[in-house]
Each structure stands twice: as C-alpha cells, then as structure tokens.
C-alpha cells in the first residue's frame, strides 16, 4: 500500500482520470472512454517511466492547480498551459521532479485543447471492468465515475523503477484527418469542415457545405471511435472515445486511429479536412 497522492486544488473545466480505454465489452454496450488524445497520453506516461496503461489525468483548457502530497516525477503532454511548479516554469513534453508539497499551476493554453498530466506510479483508482478510465455516461471508473472537483485527493501507485523517456519535441498539428473511404465519402473530400458547438467526448459534429441525403436510418450496427456517421443533414459526426457502441446512420468514412488525437486537440470552431487514405 502506497500513501503517495496528489490533490486537486483547482479542477478546471473538465478533468478526468483516463487510461487507454475499457476494451472488449462493446457487446454489452460499454464504450472505450479512453484518453481523447492517446498520443499525448502515451508520451506522458513514457516520460515518467509508467507502465503502458497507467492512469493519468486529462485536463480540458488548463486552469488547474495540483498539489503533490509526496515527492513525485510528473510530465505534461498536449496543450501547453504555461505551467509553473512553485513559480518555476516547467516545459511540456518533458519529465520533471516535484517535492512533497509542491504546487503545479496550469493556465489556459493559447492553442490546443487538452493536456495530459502523468505522475509516476499512475493514478491509483480501482479497476472497473478492466480499466481505470472514466465513463461519464455510466458513471463508472475514474474517481466515482465523475469529472474531478477541487479538493479531490488521488492516490498514486508505487513509484516506477522503469527507465524514463527523454523529452520529445512538440508534435505539429495540421487538422488533416487521413480517412478510409466508404461509398458515401464523396460528401467529405475537397471542403473544409468546422468543429461545431455540440462536439464532446462522444463525437465531433462538423459544420460546413454539407449535402443532405435521404438514406434515413439503416439497421443498427456496431460503431467505433473514428467512424464518421452521416445524419440526414449531411453534416458528418466523427465518433470519439465515449461513442455509443451501435448506431444507425450511414457510414461516410473511417478516420485512421493515428489521426484521432488531432480531434482531441481541435477546439470548437477549428477547421478540419479529410484526405483519402489507402
């Protein structure tokens, strides 16, 4: 039993305990609900030497204060929130050491949406159906199945002994989504789409020069993160981590796994394009 812990003094807009996801139960209606930017999640864990699948915190638009109850290694990846540890700037995409009692302040980022905070040992919440990630709809996983609040204390696993990864350069983001074509994909190409207001962890609704269709609903079938659904309005919905497990809208294409993180970092109003990927 480890008494290592962190406490959130400010929780921001929406901070969630996440891991890669809750897999193998979509036939029971259970979504994956993993980190929206899996790329940043993976890098942050590697930077502190965590085992693959350790739970971290996904923060939306910064504005978070974390107090380290015990000495810890930590790393931030994703949106650069101008973070400071006891007043000293700390770089994103790089591992850092915090003393017991140190306070980490994240401000609102100038670009990008989400920041992953990984702490060595990982966030130690109970496994629920094989995962620690938060499922907001079923109110399970994470901390009591909900977004984190100010005052929440999160236990950490035992400090890791594995080698830490060296700092990495911040990846470029281009909002070009490589997409595997489907019969209806002609609706997608050669135009720019704007991330709409009704976008969330279930899916991003895109607005633009849409072509309505009258195909209506099809027999229900499995859908997965990356699937692009086409409701009758013709405005595509790209499904993300918290997507429902079945749906009836026609499929307009599938965004490849390697590019889904870009949507996790695209704010409302961002412009995105789809390009054909073979």
């Amino acid at each position: 039993m480890s008494d290592r812990a962190i406490t959130l003094e400010r929780a921001g807009l929406q901070s969630l305990v996440v891991d890669r996801g809750r897999f193998g139960l979509r036939h029971q209606g259970v979504g994956w609900c993993g980190a929206l930017d899996l790329r940043s999640y993976t890098i942050a864990n590697e930077l502190v030497g965590n085992s693959e699948g350790a739970a971290a915190i996904e923060i939306v638009l910064g504005d978070v204060i974390v107090r380290f109850e015990t000495a810890s290694q930590f790393a931030l990846a994703g949106a650069d929130c101008g973070a400071e540890l006891d007043g000293v700037p700390v770089a994103t995409w790089s591992p850092h050491a915090a003393c017991a009692g140190a306070r980490l302040i994240l401000r609102r980022p100038r670009a990008w949406m989400r920041t992953i905070l990984a702490v060595d040992g990982g966030i130690d919440v109970p496994l629920v159906l094989g995962s620690r990630t938060t499922d907001l709809i079923a109110a399970m996983g994470g901390l009591a199945g909900r977004a984190l609040r100010a005052g929440d204390r999160l236990a950490l696993g035992p400090a890791s002994r594995t080698a830490r990864r060296a700092p990495v350069a911040s990846p470029d983001i281009d909002c070009v989504l490589r997409t595997i074509a489907q019969p209806l994909s002609d609706h997608l190409w050669d135009r720019t789409w704007t991330v709409g207001h009704e976008s969330n962890r279930m899916g991003y609704r895109l607005k633009g020069d849409a072509m309505p269709h009258d195909l209506g609903m099809l027999p229900s079938r499995a859908v997965f993160p990356g699937f692009i659904q086409l409701p009758p309005s013709g405005e595509p919905i790209v499904l993300l981590s918290d997507a429902q497990t079945t749906g009836g809208y026609p499929l307009a294409g599938v965004v490849i796994e390697e590019d889904l993180w870009k949507l996790g970092q695209a704010p409302i109003g961002a412009q995105v394009r789809f390009v054909r990927w073979e």
Partner: protein, 215 residues
C-alpha cells in the same frame, strides 16, 4: 427450418470486419449470438458486436491478416447452428404514463388506440433480447406488437431519464442511464439495468426473454 442467405463480409476501416445478412429474424440473431460468442474466444479478436442482422469484429492487424480472418469467420459461420432463446424470462415492473411516460398520449394517438390499450399491448408481449448496444446495458428487444410500431421521434430528446421504457420501430428498450434518445418514452422502471459490480454487468443478455409488468 429458417433459410439463411449467404452473408456478406467486408472490411470497414483499419481493423473491423462486418458480416451482414439482409435478415433480422430471431433465427438470424440466434446464429449471430453463437458466432459472436465463438469469435470472442479467439485471441486476436478485441470486440465482437452484434447489431440487427450483422456482426462487427475488431481484430488485431499485427496478429492476423484481414483475408485469413475473413476465411476463419466464414468457416465459423458455416458450422454455427445458433444459440437457443433462453428459458428464463425477466420481468420488468413499469409505471406507465404520466410524467414518467411522457409520450404515452402521443403514441396512443398516432396508433389510433387508447392509452390503456397501448399499455395492455406493450405489457402482454414476450420480448427477446436481439442484441445489446448503444449504452451500457441497453437491450434491443424484439417482439413489439405490430399495432405499436412507429418511426422514431422527429426530434430526439437531449435527455431521456434513466429507467425510461421506450418503443421505436419494431422494438422496445429501457434506457439504463440518462442520455439523449429518439425513442417514444411510455413509462419508467426502477430496475437497475447495468451494474459494473454484477456479473454480467448488463441485466439483459442476448437471447433472454423479457416481459413488462404494469406497476
């Protein structure tokens, strides 16, 4: 004896195979339940999800090639007879109408029935779980009386309360959690449809028989 057409198999995206038939009969679903159960036991399969007359399988492309898995699935389909409909019947107690069944009046009007006739028809049928999907523990129930079949609501609700008992098309279902939804809500149950501490977590499993009992 049910005549099955040959299924169509195709790849969707990087790592999903969809097997589908133009057939959403219970006999077809029974065969899909069995095929999904078999596929889930294969080590290179991450998910095997049934829909209405279709099965989607997510595979690990580092371990198995699409063509090899396609052949494997076709062979499994040929040998699969189908799982039986369960002997057990699960009863779900429903308070119909009022605030908890906000669409009961509209459903009655659209079907040319009285509200008590809608309740009687909904509660007299025995349903079979065709598949589970959408939300954790949401069971798609086949067996809705033909007189109650309506298209989904023109405008989906942004929030349907947990426990809502609803109908759409040829199916009925119970919303396990607060969620958006486009089905017609005719009542509510206090039954917990999904509990991660229970095994299995979803109360209703494919093949289960279900009856609704007015409170």
């Amino acid at each position: 004896m049910h005549e099955f057409g040959a299924p169509n198999l195709r790849r969707v995206g990087q790592s999903t195979i969809v097997l589908e038939c133009d057939d959403t009969s219970t006999a077809m679903q029974q065969r899909l339940w069995a095929l999904a159960r078999v596929a889930r036991s294969w080590p290179h399969i991450g998910e095997a999800v049934i829909g209405a007359g279709n099965l989607s399988v997510v595979f690990d492309g580092r371990v198995v090639a699409y063509e090899a898995l396609r052949v494997e699935l076709e062979a499994a389909w040929e040998r699969t007879l189908g799982d039986a409909v369960s002997e057990r019947t699960i009863e779900i107690v429903v308070r119909y109408g009022g605030d908890e069944g906000a669409d009961l009046r509209d459903v009655a009007e659209a079907c040319g029935l009285r509200e008590d006739e809608v309740i009687a028809l909904h509660a007299s049928a025995t349903y079979v779980v065709a598949f589970v999907g959408f939300l954790p523990g949401f069971a798609y129930l086949d067996g809705l009386d033909e007189r109650l079949r309506l298209p989904r609501r023109a405008a989906p609700r942004t929030r349907v309360p947990a426990g809502s008992v609803a109908i759409a098309g040829a199916q009925s279902g119970v919303y396990p959690f607060d969620s958006p939804g486009g089905w017609h809500v005719i009542g509510r149950t206090a039954q917990r449809m999904f509990d991660p501490d229970r095994e299995p977590a979803a109360l209703l499993q494919p093949g289960d028989r279900v009856r609704f009992v007015p409170a």
